[in-house]
Amino acid sequence: MTFLQARRDRTTRVAAALEHASPEERRRRTRIRVILAVLGLLCVVAVVAYLTYDVRGSWDYAMDLRTRQVGSLVVVGAAVGASSLVFQTIAGSRILTPSVMGFDALYLLVQTIIVFFFGSATFLMMGVAERFLINAGALVLFGMLLFRWLFGRNSRNLLVLVLVGIVIGSLFNSLTSLASRVLSPNDFLTLQDVMFATFNTVDGDLLWIVGAVCVVGLLALVPLLRYLDVVDLGYDSAIALGLPYHRVVTLTLAVVTLLVAVSTALVGPMLFLGLIVANLARQVVPSHRHTDLVLGSVLVGILATVAGQFVVGHLMDNGTTLSVVVNLVGGIYFILLLMRTVRL
């Protein structure tokens, strides 16, 4: 009954929106849909190409391995794309992404601390899934505290935030390396193993649980999207329009930390991937609605990781790694963005 009611409301809303849209506006909507559809199609092509390119030897073995690889690439691309775009909106800046703010460095630190205090025996005894969930939980907790502190302050100066992020990131990295130096060699090896996972070797169990968390995170984002449209107007306007600003920002940050945990758990830190993906998505998808933007960013993210790894893995024969390429391209892009914003 209520479902039917909701359906009917939606239908009248859609009809009204159509009726009150000018031809130009309808053209724009169609254009956005087409762009998103093309992106989706490209993603499918990339995935299929990755799976089937130049299979030698056992088809079954290749499929099994490659499905896991491509699965983790898709999960990482989606998580990084969605979290980075949404984070940009909250931070009110195109330059700030979770990685730039030292988020994934925090993930590694949390992991190191767990090994440091409980030893690698406990760490290994826990299943992959439990380990990830504990890590993610701790990250969400710490991340929330950190960001409440950062954004709660009066200084919303962009450069200050970038600086703080970079300082915090290197602080976390130093703490991580300090803690790992104090560890016993055994513990250290265990840690190395989990910290620098690559796309080539993916644990099936981990992929399942991480993929599930990613889906949950993305779904949790959906009802927030139309509030994020208002956040994009700036704090003052959002408050004036009656948006529960702090609740929206806090919830979104929680989802962002979760998604960062997802991607870092699978492939380790990828400093500039989010930056490239989110900004590309904003350029490619000419919309202010976060339903379009986030979907676009997810698709661009999947495309970037799958196509990128296809090139690095298949065409370049693993001559380099995806993170190296991403950091090279992304680093240059980051500097360009900074220069354009700051006009040095």
């Binding site: 009204a16 449209d229 107007l233 700036g234 003052d236 004036a240 329009l241």
Partner: protein
């Protein structure tokens, strides 16, 4: 009715609002004037709950701004601030639709669309409705923001320096527009203004602030007095009556430039002669 009760607020240790109490009349256009740092914008921010004051309360009708739900307030009170960032790819009509957010939370009903169209019509924005905000001139963009505020359909509208960055033509048409909204639509409009002459010509009521306090308030005729203005702005401003408009001549400090017809106003200050002499001396020097 907006009633401000005993508001005190500090930035660090600097007192910006000092036990401000104020009642703003309904259905009228009220201007808040004062020098930079007098606390005008802060007061507006407190009323619109952008800032939580250290002490004191603000009531909109019977609603306490701090405790009432964000929803309820945003259906009665609309605010336009200066620092509007436009990062998103937003067209005029998209922006105006945000005005309906308090009602439909981004899912516009057929009625919402009607209100949006009315707001666009009211501000003659239909021809520009599909332009992106960064393709508009300052005056057009300001009008788009006003349309959003009108679409919010509130009884009270607060505007923080709406004439900033507008040229003379757009300033005067903006004020005419606000005046019209107060008269035709019965809105209660409160604005922070820097130009006392706009305040004088367009408001029903003027509130003058200095050092975080309300120094004086009243009708334009009451406020636009040389002594009062001296008290508020710490400037000697000659006031001239021109067909019922009271204008402050503030471009030159002190007395009027040259021999102006002083519409029956007795000269209380001793200085005009001296000022004229200086003027003459300057001209002589230039020549």
């Amino acid at each position: 009715m907006i009633s401000v009760r005993d508001i005190t607020h500090r930035y660090d240790k600097q007192v910006v609002l000092d036990e401000v109490g104020l009642t703003l009349p309904v259905g009228q256009l009220t201007s808040i004037v004062g020098a930079n740092g007098a606390g005008k914008s802060t007061l507006l921010s407190v009323i619109s709950r952008l800032i939580k004051p250290e002490r004191g309360t603000v009531f909109i009708d019977d609603l306490d701004v701090q405790t009432a739900g964000a929803d309820a307030i945003s259906r009665r009170l609309a605010v336009l601030r200066q620092d509007n960032r436009i990062t998103a790819r937003l067209s005029v009509v998209d922006l105006v639709r945000f005005g309906r957010f308090p009602y439909s939370k981004g899912r516009l009903t057929p009625e919402d669309h009607v209100v949006v169209d009315e707001a666009l019509d009211y501000l003659d924005l239909q021809p520009l409705r599909d332009r992106y905000l960064d393709q508009l001139s300052g005056g057009q963009r300001q009008r788009a923001y006003i349309a959003m505020i009108l679409a919010q359909d509130t009884d009270y509208i607060l505007l923080d320096e709406p004439l900033n960055n507008l040229d003379m033509k757009h300033s005067s048409s903006m004020m005419t527009l606000l005046r019209r909204a107060a008269d035709d639509l019965g809105k209660t409009i409160v604005l922070v203004l820097h130009d006392i002459n706009f305040a004088s010509c367009f408001s029903d009521h003027i509130v003058a602030m200095r050092d975080g306090k309300v120094v004086v308030q009243g009708t334009p005729a009451e406020i636009m007095q040389r002594e009062t203005l001296r008290e508020v702005f710490d400037m000697d401003i000659h006031v001239q009556d021109l067909n019922g408009m009271r204008l402050g001549i503030f471009w030159t400090t002190g007395a009027p430039v040259g021999p102006l017809p002083l519409a029956g106003q007795p000269e209380t200050d001793g200085s005009p002669g001296q000022a004229q002499d200086e003027q003459a001396a300057e001209f002589a020097w230039r020549a």
